[in-house]
């Protein structure tokens, strides 16, 4: 590694009007690492990811991607190296575009050429045959759509993939397929992942290191091994862990709110 982290976030703050959604979050992700952001709804985890992706211009702080400081607006080069997969595969594909058109667009925008071969290869890589190429999204299942979304993100050959709850809208058996696909692609291409999820088990499975967020702040950072052993320092993380292990009346009675 070159010493420079792939992603560096320093004192990130995001506000929506009066509401401070993210209040000073800092973390770094090394090249080739898979980093998880865990939290409940309203914790600001998705907001961090969207600010990182350049989808939300109203932030302050410092964002560096591949060593370059990022501003409010991103250039084409940024999008070529940093792509995102959304939570809802039903909403992230244009309903009137064929899979072919969806995959052809990024190739055309970045003038990469050779679109035909690229599309075929991208489909094959995510485990979809070429028979899917000219279908519309509504003719595909949720898992197949999410594969298309992953293919669309990867067709630009990025180094970083931002994953926003990529499997939470899917059935568990389909979730396993998508998680396996993501694991394989990362190994093959040396990708850097930032995975946002409310599901601790998914994050522990996919990531080496993770940060727990609550109410716009980063509660603690720990590695997945420590999480598995239950070695969380903060009470909030321990409560989250407890809740993720299934229903336990006595434990749930003792749950409290963390401000």
């Amino acid at each position: 590694m070159t010493g420079d982290p792939m992603i560096e976030v320093r004192d990130l703050r995001v506000s929506f009007g009066e509401v401070a959604a993210v209040q000073g979050v800092s973390f770094r992700v090394e090249a080739g690492e898979s980093f998880g952001l865990v939290g409940e709804s309203g914790s600001g985890k998705s907001t961090v990811l969207r600010a990182l992706a350049g989808l939300n211009p109203d932030w302050t702080g410092e964002l560096r991607v591949e060593g370059r400081a990022q501003g409010r607006r991103r250039d084409k080069g940024f999008f070529k190296s940093c792509q995102m997969v959304f939570q809802d595969p039903y909403g992230s594909l244009h309903p009137r575009h064929t899979i072919d058109r969806i995959l052809a667009e990024p190739v055309a925008i970045h003038r990469m050429g050779d679109a035909d071969a690229r599309i075929e290869r991208a489909l094959a890589e995510v485990g979809l045959g070429s028979q899917f190429r000219y279908r519309y999204p509504h003719q595909l299942s949720g898992g197949q759509r999410q594969r298309v979304a992953i293919a669309r993100a990867l067709i630009l050959e990025p180094n970083i993939l931002l994953l926003d709850e990529p499997t939470s809208a899917l059935d568990v058996s389909v979730q396993a397929e998508i998680l396996n696909l993501l694991t394989r692609l990362r190994a093959e291409r040396g990708l850097t992942y930032v995975l946002v999820s409310h599901n601790l088990a998914v994050v522990a499975h996919m990531c080496g290191r993770l940060a727990v967020m609550n109410r716009g702040r980063l509660v603690e950072e720990l590695d997945a091994e420590a999480l598995r052993r239950g070695e969380a320092r903060e009470d909030y993380t321990r409560q989250l862990l407890r809740a993720s292990r299934g229903y336990d009346r006595a434990a749930a009675e003792a749950f409290r709110d963390f401000a």
């Binding site: 940024f78 792509q83 992230s92 244009h94 990024p106 028979q131 000219y134 669309r152």
Partner: protein, 304 residues
């Protein structure tokens, strides 16, 4: 799932689960829409009327039994009969021939309004909705101002400024009808502006122009097509109204509204002079309305 009845039949090819090319996918989609459309009997009637109008306009010189401009004062105001199916007017011109030729003017008005107002409205509405902020505020205030004028009065003002004539009437209609389309397009754009697929397009580095043209417009256009088709009746009536007031098509052009105006003074004794073009306007307006309703069922994603 993988059943692929590509075995020669056209319908099979069109409804194939796994199209092999862009064209096949697009045609298959159209075919499915067509199948839905054909199930709606009234919509098919509307389509038949509109197609009838087009055929009438195309074949008017061959269908018309007389020259629409040929005056024969000896044969004026003949009631409908064997020689003149729909009678003759005050100048002895055959009304059927004039209605047939008048369909060309009607179609001309319809076509020109269709390629101007909705496209202007679509452009303004999508830009306004997509960018928001001051762009939206500025464009929408202009739209509000345009909407605040009564349509026919504004058209009258334009026509009197531009001088009477069928082109003036069309321009007047187009200028008064775009704001409604801009509002529809803007409303549609607002609902999809924050959707994930638009965000995804931005994340690929797509320019605003590409997003508006390639992603927003296709989703707005179907509701706009429906609206335009439904408005067509109103447009024809406005054109006829301007013609009736003597501000649209000028004599001796066989414009339907102007024909009614000319028949006005005989309406009690020679009812057919004003009634026959009136019936023509009624049927064509009805046709467009029925077609619009049918298209809405097929095209409007919300009603699915």
């Amino acid at each position: 799932m993988s059943a692929n009845p590509n075995g020669g039949s056209l319908a099979g090819w069109l409804t194939a689960d796994t199209p092999r090319s862009r064209a096949q996918a697009r045609l298959g989609r159209l075919y499915r829409g067509w199948q839905g459309f054909t199930r709606n009997g009234l919509a098919m009637l509307g389509l038949a009327i509109v197609l009838g109008l087009v055929l009438m306009a195309a074949l008017a010189p061959w269908l018309a039994p007389y020259d629409p401009y040929q005056q024969d004062l000896g044969r004026r105001l003949i009631p409908p009969g064997a020689a003149h199916w729909l009678g003759t007017d005050a100048f002895g011109r055959d009304i059927l021939s004039r209605i047939l030729h008048g369909s060309r003017l009607t179609l001309y008005i319809v076509a020109l309004v269709t390629v101007t107002a909705p496209i202007a409205g679509l452009a303004i509405g999508t830009v306004s909705g997509y960018f928001g902020g001051w762009v939206d505020a500025a464009l929408m205030r202009i739209t509000d101002i345009a909407l605040a004028f009564p349509k026919l009065i504004l058209a009258l003002a334009f026509v009197s400024a531009l001088g009477p004539g069928i082109e003036s009437a069309i321009i007047a209609i187009a200028i008064t009808s775009w704001p409604a389309y801009a509002r529809i397009a803007r409303a549609e754009t607002l609902t999809i502006r924050h959707s994930d697929f638009i965000q995804a397009a931005r994340l690929q580095g797509a320019s605003s122009a590409r997003i508006i043209l390639g992603h927003v417009v296709p989703l707005c256009s179907s509701s706009l097509i429906v609206r335009v088709t439904l408005d067509m009746a109103g447009i024809i009536l406005t054109a006829a109204g301007l013609g009736f007031l003597g501000l649209g098509a000028q004599p001796p052009l066989p414009e339907w509204g102007a024909m009614i105006a000319a028949g006005r003074q005989y309406v009690l004794d020679q009812w057919w002079v004003a009634t026959m073009p009136g019936i023509a306007i009624f049927i064509v307006s009805l046709g467009f309305n029925l077609l619009g309703d049918g298209l809405r069922d097929v095209l409007d994603p919300k009603s699915r």
